[in-house]
């Protein structure tokens, strides 16, 4: 976590400022409106207030959603803002999984894993795949596990499955093969 903070040190100040403003907004709303009065009429008032305290603690402290694997889990009191300012900006990279037939002369039959594994949800799946791309070759074994999971979906003429990184050069897509898994037919 300390390494992470050093890397993103320029955003520590912004994070602290955001937390301060968040608390200020909560106090302002409670003091300038009758919201607290309405909430206090509810028999479960202490429990509701406790939930809102946990919710706000989540917004302030849960800043490492993209870190894999996380040691602690405070679900459902998690930070809702997914935008994490990044010194690298927005990298124009993507990924793809391909089935290749032996005689197809390198034409990729792309497998849309966001459809196959839609249950995981697009943002989490996209973050996980981005992590695999950005941290290659450390993630090599993990990529092979994803490839071998897809093996059951192949047709009999598929020879190998690949995981590829996509990047843009002057608006044109380019692909680099990161891992390949040969399959048995």
């Amino acid at each position: 976590m300390i390494e992470y903070l050093i890397k993103y040190d320029s955003f520590v100040f912004r994070g602290l400022f955001e937390s301060f403003v968040l608390i200020f907004i909560v106090i302002l709303i409670l003091r300038k409106t009758d919201l607290l009065l309405i909430l206090s009429k509810n028999k479960k008032y202490p429990l509701i207030i406790l939930f809102f305290i946990f919710f706000n603690i989540g917004q302030i402290t849960d800043r490492f959603q993209y870190q894999y694997p996380q040691l602690y889990d405070t679900y459902p009191f998690i930070r809702f803002a997914m935008y994490q300012a990044s010194p690298e900006g927005v990298e124009l990279t993507s990924y793809r999984f391909c089935f290749y037939e032996e005689d197809s002369n390198k034409s990729c039959n792309e497998i849309n894993i966001t459809k196959i594994y839609s249950s995981i949800g697009l943002p989490p799946l996209s973050s996980r795949m981005n992590y695999l791309v950005q941290n290659y070759p450390e993630t090599s074994n993990e990529i092979l596990l994803w490839l071998s999971s897809l093996e059951r979906l192949k047709s009999s003429d598929v020879h190998f499955i690949t995981f590829e990184k996509e990047f843009l050069i002057e608006g044109v897509s380019n692909f680099i093969e990161l891992e390949r898994l040969y399959v048995q037919n």
């Binding site: 309405i38 009429k41 939930f51 459902p76 697009l122 943002p123 996209s126 973050s127 994803w146 999971s149």
Partner: protein, 271 residues
């Protein structure tokens, strides 16, 4: 002092309608949840976190028999809850869905926020329901307050962490391109098309306006019905735009927004 105007004239029936509609939102989520394939992901792709840290051997999780039985149980409890609105059914459902969602989190890393929103909204709604002779506004304001406040938190975080770069440079345009490049369910690539045809400054300005709309969402508790309704429609349109341009769906958020417009109707007697 500003008065909380939302649901100030709501019919008592609105509470049970809100509970049933929330149950139905869960039902559609589970019906369309294509769960069967993630069982076949290799065990090594699963990060055991949260409650799964306490489960020693989780081989049973990678069995379709287990999850088929689990989902049947989940559906049964949910349907019972929708029909009877019994607190026991509700809390059993919430524990089961927590287990279910945390399993998915093991593959994705972080959780899908639309489901967390629905989870917290349902939880707070059912906690704040007080039984007989309850005041409608007192029961419905806590979940709606949470729901609106999460938008405020998102707007605030984006504004403070991203201003001015995010709204001035080409970051938003690059974001749209990146999301179009990455696979999504319907393979939508309209974000890239938009960037190619509209100047970045207009896109960034629109993004800044929508960020302010998010930031001020909490104030909708205190505005008149008309303003609230228009603002909620803007939120729905923003969610639909995110889906078309970035491929990210917020079905559950949209359904909650539609539900709120319905529940806070001017003539609630016909409910």
């Amino acid at each position: 002092m500003f008065k909380t105007k939302i649901f100030n004239k709501a019919n008592p029936k609105s509470i049970t309608i809100a509970q049933r509609l929330t149950g139905l939102i869960w039902l559609q989520y589970l019906l369309f949840d294509n769960f069967k394939e993630i069982i076949f992901l290799r065990k090594g792709t699963f990060f055991n976190r949260g409650l799964y840290n306490f489960i020693g051997n989780f081989d049973f999780l990678f069995s379709s028999n287990f999850w088929n039985s689990f989902r049947i149980l989940l559906f049964t409890i949910l349907v019972l809850y929708i029909l009877k609105l019994n607190h026991k059914h509700f809390f059993i459902f919430l524990v089961l869905i927590y287990f279910y969602e945390m399993f998915k989190k093991g593959f994705g890393g972080h959780i899908d926020h639309r489901i967390t929103t629905l989870f917290l909204f349902t939880l707070i709604l059912n906690i704040s329901v007080q039984g007989k002779n309850q005041n409608t506004q007192t029961s419905l304001v806590p979940p709606v307050c949470f729901f609106f406040f999460q938008y405020t938190c998102i707007g605030l975080a984006r504004l403070i962490n991203g201003f001015p770069e995010l709204f001035r440079d080409d970051i938003f345009s690059r974001w749209l391109i990146q999301r179009s490049m990455r696979p999504n369910y319907f393979e939508l690539q309209f974000g890239q098309l938009l960037v190619e045809n509209i100047e970045g400054i207009y896109l960034s300005s629109l993004f800044l306006i929508l960020t302010f709309v998010e930031l001020f969402t909490i104030l909708l508790l205190f505005t008149g019905r008309k303003i609230m309704r228009y603002a909620l429609v803007v939120h729905i349109l923003a969610h639909l735009s995110i889906f078309i341009l970035m491929g990210i769906n917020f079905t559950e958020n949209v359904l909650i927004l539609v539900m709120l417009i319905y529940l806070d109707r001017e003539n609630n007697d016909s409910l």
